[in-house]
Symmetry: C2
Subunit: 247 residues, 2 copies
């Protein structure tokens, strides 16, 4: 399979030529050392095309867009939003990478009360780069949307999901298991447009967060073992996606 | 909740006193700086007891074993064996940590044909330490068994699982999804003693491995996206455990 490059948020037309951004151009020209005539693929938000390298213009690579092809990994039938806290030690980046690989549609990163890491806008840029790299690696053509939220409650409001389809991963709770809660909701006959889940920080949700979220999300459990902050969202994503027949 | 320490593979009796090994003693005496009289918990293979620090003897901590208590995370009702390849960049360790958190019973690490990392016995010791640390963190009392296998086929033979309950995570295959295959097997009425899955290395299984494994394992897919070598086993574990009502 040809190497794949991200063409940004634009509509691709067969026959036109486009410039890749500097990050992608660096990967194409310097890392992979491709020259004019090389066959590649380019993808935008869910669409993928055959393409050919035309040459370089300054630091950028120009490519000719060819026929549209099916990305090997189509978008999910139901949108899945994951709300995760900032986690220290580069773990936010690892979680964004994994959630992208799994196919998650939207990732909201929020500031938890028990947060132990400070975020800045350069981190968001790096995370966007991480998501693009993961799309290239896993053959996904739709880059997940990354959003920032001030608080856990703000993250839920951003997601705009009905309470019964927005699951709060609440450790040490006696709530239903996530898999049981999803099955229950699927059996209710209510339709899903988007499903969401929210994981907590190291040390868990603060009682004030649980109190606020009680009325806008459904508490669920991932079982008796205490999962790390970076493990829980990946596990929840796998459970949600398998419930929807995606894996 | 009291700090938890691993007491090795011994049977604990209320009223006796035991020495912790050097690793655990270091954690108790040097890292946590506990003194005589401190309340802790000790756990062995699935059992957990209240305990009190008695004092130090050389580099080791002596503790008095008290009443047995329920570990918060009981062992799985069905044993789950995960067979994983050695993965470079310390990723084998990350996978062992995550699989332990999730509750996997046995982890078999095998040499893949497309292996890019060399294993030695010191790595096994470090992985055992990783599993113990993960048990302490996730409140699990039964440390998973770690086994080494020469080849993928050897790993399957070690696991001693019926072909229909031993799942090969075969990327880019047209096989059933893992979740579908498990459901199918559960609906068959056959009983499960242990279920197993095997993930492949970076670059995927070699055709010769797929050929050999064809008759001793059932090929399944994790969907259209290509998961990294360190992501697939964690995702598979989550799917298997949720199918068995564990998460």
């Amino acid at each position: 399979m040809s190497l794949r490059f991200y063409a940004g948020k634009q509509i691709l037309q067969q026959g036109e030529s486009i410039l890749l951004d500097e990050g992608e151009s660096h990967h194409l020209l310097k890392v992979m050392r491709l020259h004019a005539g090389a066959d590649i693929r380019v993808f935008t938000q869910g669409f993928e095309h055959q393409a050919t390298v035309v040459g370089r213009e300054g630091h950028q690579a120009r490519v000719a867009v060819g026929e549209q092809c099916h990305g090997t990994a189509a978008s999910l039938a139901v949108g899945v939003t994951a709300a995760i806290p900032w986690i220290r030690g580069g773990k936010t980046e690892v979680v964004v990478q994994k959630l992208t690989e799994l196919g998650i549609t939207t990732i909201v990163i929020y500031h938890a009360v028990r947060e132990v890491v400070k975020a800045d806008s350069s981190k968001l840029e790096r995370l966007q780069r991480t998501a693009i790299e993961a799309c290239k690696q896993c053959e996904r053509a739709d880059v997940p949307e990354l959003l920032l939220a001030d608080t856990a409650a703000h993250a839920v409001r951003l997601a705009e999901i009905p309470t019964s389809q927005c699951f709060l991963l609440h450790e040490r709770s006696n709530a239903n298991l996530l898999s049981t809660a999803i099955k229950h909701e699927m059996d209710s006959g209510r339709t899903f447009r988007t499903i969401a889940f929210m994981s907590g920080p190291e040390g868990g949700f603060h009682p004030s967060e649980v109190e606020t979220l009680r009325n806008i999300a459904t508490s669920v459990s991932l079982g008796p073992r205490i999962l790390r902050a970076e493990t829980a969202p990946v596990v929840a994503a796998a459970i949600v996606l398998s419930a929807f027949g995606e894996m």
